[in-house]
Symmetry: C2
Subunit: 493 residues, 2 copies
């Protein structure tokens, strides 16, 4: 319980609450390497569930995995002009390939004789190295489409880091596809955005908003960047995944051409798309509460924990054998279950610990329950407890897990809807943005106005949203010039 007491309340400091939670729920911690995190086993188990689900979805969509080098020659970055402009500056640079013992015996030093002719950088993203490879793989229209993905670590030398949300090294997947036509590439970028949207909604219980980025917020080198944007409990937005239509920029930079059916040479069309361990931050911030982590059952490494309450070994033996039955039945229903009958921690400690770790359902079985044919059920999302007949409890738990999954999504969606407002004047905007949440407002479509709003208010255009959002034209809240439609603003992580 001591640990739990140390968890800062969200109302005191949302940011401190987040840091406490990531540490205390054993998800991740800072490493001795500045800005790089260690993902601990419990946190990594959640990431593995995400990976497996996404990877299966990619494969259903016909994507193959591959692996490309960690290091990128410095000169590659200069090949695509916009890419190098927007990227590639803050990155880890490898300059030497050997250490040696210092001659004065003081330890090991970098061997000055082992200097690389050309410096390499650790990949901040892999478009350049992948398109230099695609050149060898693509000759004819028969080689297209080419659709690959890699699960990899990448590095961007961020100055201000936060566990999962912004780290120098992070884990991600990056999909890279090559197509014969513009239409096919644009469709691919959309398809993958929808894969991310489905994953966020149906597994993370995160009701993201899909849309397209403004020019300012585009990926460096893309013609269009599509995004899914989530709203966190503190009213700040979090970009959860992006899918880029890259046009022919990288194909031209790396001279990737194909012979079309009419026997003419054409440049190839491209997309890239990725999600990262940042999703862990989104997951944590969307659902968790002052008692700790709250996990949607679809991503919980442990979906059900069973804790026994007993006075003596004989009682424990009886409970153990009943739990063995329950465990087998739950597993046969595809539910992951942990029975914690360790005798070195008291039940109250266990309760607090599994709450902190966000296990969706807790079952408590005592000697008296066995006499009464009952069992106590607690659901983590609402913290509601009830005593139920043990008969049929496994089917009940199965339904309860579905219910929790739906309830978390509904709660997050309700919160998002309640915190998405339309404003018409810039004065109103400046007041409302202080309250957090998404703001729908008219904008004249220019980068200059967007920049001005950002400088004034720290708010950015998260996207021009798809779907049910108001698409009527109006006038820009700042300049009064015509606006095609309202766009979505927020302060963001």
């Amino acid at each position: 319980m001591a640990e739990l007491k140390d968890l800062t309340k969200r109302s005191e400091s949302y940011s401190q609450w987040y840091n406490d939670l990531v540490l205390k729920a054993d998800l991740a911690e800072q490493s001795p390497v500045r800005g790089c995190m260690v993902i601990k086993p419990y946190g990594y188990a959640i990431w593995e569930k995400m990976q497996r689900i996404l990877d299966d979805k990619f494969k259903e969509n016909g994507i193959s995995n591959a692996y490309f080098p960690l290091l990128i020659p410095k000169s590659f970055l200069s090949r695509e002009a916009e890419h190098v402009e927007g990227f590639a500056k803050e990155c880890a640079v490898v300059t030497h390939y050997r250490l040696k013992n210092a001659e004065d015996g003081s330890g090991i030093i970098v061997d000055p004789a082992a200097k690389l002719e050309e410096e390499m950088i650790i990949r901040p993203t892999s478009e350049t190295i992948i398109w230099s490879t695609f050149k060898n793989w693509i000759q004819s229209y028969r080689d297209l489409p080419l659709r690959v993905n890699q699960w990899a670590n990448v590095m961007r030398w961020e100055m201000r880091t936060r566990l999962f949300l912004r780290t120098a090294e992070f884990l991600w997947q990056e999909g890279h596809t090559a197509h014969a036509t513009r239409e096919e590439a644009e469709e691919e970028a959309q398809t993958m955005l929808h894969v991310y949207n489905d994953f966020a909604n149906n597994y993370m219980a995160l009701p993201v908003i899909m849309g397209v980025k403004s020019a300012n917020e585009r990926f460096a080198g893309a013609l269009d960047t599509y995004t899914i944007e989530g709203l966190m409990q503190d009213g700040k937005a979090l970009q959860c995944g992006t899918s880029h239509f890259l046009g022919r920029n990288f194909a031209k930079a790396f001279n990737v051409q194909f012979v079309n059916k009419e026997n003419n040479l054409e440049s190839v069309w491209a997309t890239s798309w990725g999600v990262s361990t940042r999703l862990m931050g989104a997951l944590i911030m969307t659902h968790s509460d002052d008692n700790g982590l709250v996990l949607p059952p679809a991503l919980a490494p442990i979906q059900v924990v069973i804790v026994p309450i007993y006075k003596n070994q004989e009682q424990l033996n009886t409970i153990d054998s009943k739990v063995a039955e329950l465990t087998a039945e739950l597993k046969s229903l595809g539910i992951s279950v942990k029975y914690d009958n360790a005798d070195n921690r008291r039940p109250g400690f266990k309760f607090a610990d599994y709450e902190l770790k966000g296990v969706p359902v807790r079952l408590v079985l005592g000697a008296r329950d066995l006499d009464n044919g009952t069992i106590e059920v607690m659901r983590r999302d609402t913290l509601e407890k009830e005593t139920r007949p043990i008969e049929g409890i496994c089917q009940y738990v199965q339904g309860l897990l579905d219910d929790i999954q739906k309830n978390l999504h509904k709660k997050a969606l309700d919160m998002r809807i309640a915190n998405t407002r339309s404003v018409d004047t810039y004065e109103e905007f400046k007041t409302e943005i202080e309250k957090g949440g998404f703001i729908l407002a008219h904008w004249d479509g220019t980068p200059e106005t967007e920049e001005l709003i950002k400088n004034d208010t720290k708010a950015t255009i998260r996207c021009i949203p798809y779907g049910d959002f108001d698409q009527t034209p109006g006038t820009c809240m700042v300049t009064g010039k015509p606006s095609a439609r309202r766009v979505l603003f927020a302060r963001a992580y």
Copy 2:
């Protein structure tokens, strides 16, 4: 067929045959980054199957996955004296964290202002960063054992590289465990060696020899290194996986202590163990032939390919619908199947291509087969063809896949046995080692004699083997001094 003709025969040049095969079977290729490979989708699909099987086995054994930083501060390497001696010299060194535009407009350069206070190296292995982290995770005997694994990329600046066998960057898993007692740690190292041995035999169809390394061949920082050694078709040995008992070396270097049940502080005992993409090289070299790759069914991304033979669209339609039935039935038996009815490649080309790619079973269905109720079956391992009734063909294929798996192991085991010989004199040894294969010989147990043999013959002690090998004492073939038992020599990759 053109591609196939270019595959060098093993008898001409085994080494050239290997390189050709890796490229032509679409497994991997050199990247623009010296010594770093691109693992192509087909090669990566095999690696993914290996990963999934090993990962499941680790988890069955209670191991959790986690993730530790890519970069290691230079000073960490000096902490464990033997480790730094045997390692850490040839490695990629990160010295700067920013690029900038050159003032003369000539491109981008490393920003001299962004020099790291302490250089970092890209992990060649992670004992140091992991043990610096374990210090925070281990306080009491209740925190032990701690058993984690990571799937990661690592880098060693090798001067002479070969695809999969020796590359500057490679993919691997590295398990790291911490224990309260020496016995438990030694048992862990053995357990994981046996996991590797089972995997090699039962999935890779690779009859490796288990044993312990001599002091010269030990991992830097280990008290004992256990190994599985395979014999390739050219008579050279390949180390396929190692498991290290690290004693208390890393715990002492990073000051990791725990309070035992008697309330006293003790240093922790450690193991580490790993296999890498090198296993891909072992897999390729063990089974493949002059027609291309031969894959054991347990690791083949496509286990069965079906090719139609037809004269017109009507015939193809009839074949398509029959194949749909077969495909559904094969999938229901857990068999991965590909139906290749693409009309831009002729059957002969497809046959050669799937042979090159090592698909274990090929089914060919023609219009005449449909009339006769037959189908042609080809097994890749022996290249035998037969025509069988289509009725019951799926069960037959299932049995055939099992048979191929067993046959490949038997063939490799027979080859290994035929090429494992005992010799008694050093003269005889020098003659025999030229023929390749494993040689069992007496050795006086000293590093000096081992070194002398290596310098004379390029042969190393692969291991002191477990199991059925002769354990009678004798006299060293070089010095005539007493020898505890015969040890296993070979020239190695």
